[in-house]
Symmetry: C2
Subunit: 256 residues, 2 copies
């Protein structure tokens, strides 16, 4: 929201429409989307027609509403960086979830947010919200803190300086200076805890996943309702969590 060098062409507009459609699970009309993306209706109409003809959006003639199309879904499973990570992690995540009885998630950094690539839920009646494909802010989540702790100093500084840190709960760390100290601690200890900092009533602990080269590739976390999860419980999972992360790491293809 700071660098104002957004492209403006038809492609950028078309992609913006796709993103806007992402926020309308029930579909949206031309007019609604035009509002969302601040463009003339006729322009949006034409762009949607193009996208529909390529199956990037689907159009329901009876309701005159547009939704994201199958092509997007199809392409997503070819995002190789995600696929290889999630594939490598899935079995281990299942084991870890079984061992802890709680939700295990895998996340990477995307546009300064922690993006969840994979989730293994708990059979318990009360679980953790959020699903694969969601992203949450870095400063209030265990995975987010682990992920930014792996950034080079200049990028971390830029992030800490450039953003405002919204308070999601009373526990959220919003002061850049305190956050900086916190991240240094994460760097030193190689794990991060979020103690009801994003969602009231949820605690989580995360560790880095590193490939054979030691490169930080993702963060792995266990999240659980606070009422059944003390700080001790959380730290008790650390060994298993680290073992799981290591196992995933060894299975990772070394890219580039």
């Amino acid at each position: 929201m700071s660098t104002a060098d957004e492209p403006q062409g038809m492609l950028a507009r078309g992609l913006a429409i796709l993103v806007a459609l992402g926020n309308h699970p029930e579909g949206a009309s031309v007019t609604e989307i035009a509002r969302d993306v601040s463009l003339p209706i006729s322009t949006v109409h034409r762009l949607l027609a193009t996208e529909a003809s390529l199956s990037f959006v689907s159009f329901d003639p009876s309701t005159k509403r547009y939704r994201l199309g199958f092509k997007v879904f199809e392409l997503a499973h070819k995002v190789s960086s995600v696929a290889s990570l999630a594939d490598a992690a899935r079995p281990t995540m299942r084991e870890l979830s079984a061992a802890t009885g709680e939700t295990v998630q895998l996340a990477v950094l995307s546009e300064n947010r922690t993006l969840f690539l994979e989730k293994v839920g708990t059979p318990q009646p009360i679980g953790i919200r959020g699903s694969v494909g969601d992203s949450e802010s870095v400063h209030a989540t265990s995975t987010g803190k682990v992920l930014i702790s792996g950034l080079p100093d200049d990028e971390l500084d830029a992030l800490l300086t450039g953003s405002a840190f919204e308070a999601h709960t009373a526990n959220t760390i919003t002061d850049p200076t305190r956050l900086r100290e916190h991240i240094e601690q994460v760097r030193a200890e190689q794990y991060a805890v979020a103690d009801e900092e994003f969602d009231e009533g949820v605690r989580a602990i995360a560790v880095p996943v590193r490939d054979g080269r030691g490169q930080l590739r993702a963060a792995l976390c266990v999240s659980a309702p606070a009422f059944r999860t003390s700080a001790e419980t959380l730290h008790g999972w650390l060994t298993e969590l680290r073992a799981a992360a290591a196992e995933i790491g060894t299975r990772l293809p070394l890219s580039s």
Copy 2:
């Protein structure tokens, strides 16, 4: 590949580039993509830059290669038609897979192909290839046959007339007339079998998944290596398969 009314604008070209990138899991250079989409390099370069700035593609400066970006992944999980189906189906599919010991898949029709939305694998050492997001031809797969059997007659005719049916194995039905008869049978019996018609050594059986209104929403199949799966075994799963499909159907939100 018959109607030649493909759009040509910058948006269509940009989307074509995304699709092309989907076929390059290891990433591709500007030049390679330009070749793939038959466009001038400078044009492709500019479009890629736009897409990169919006995270639809990622660019590795060291290798100068482009890949599909996180945004595509993020959006995909908001393709509501897919998400609701897959969510509704997942638990039942797990049970069915456990009961049969084989791979269970859920598919819908997309651009005259059978697109797999969800897959629950087998713990057995020899499994079924193909993954979520892949699509296969309709005439040689059990799910494909079920899905096109639900088309209105005119659309089915158009499909049968308009396409050439490639022989994937010796068993593939390639003659439109025979395929038509076959589909009539599927309509009558409400299930379809693929007997090593797509992959040598793989047999599968599929049934329709219908929502509360009786609308065909997907196809559910069990696939297994032929060496451990006789025709009888396959048909033996039919009852469980139908029960599973019915269960999924009741759980489906009635869209539109």
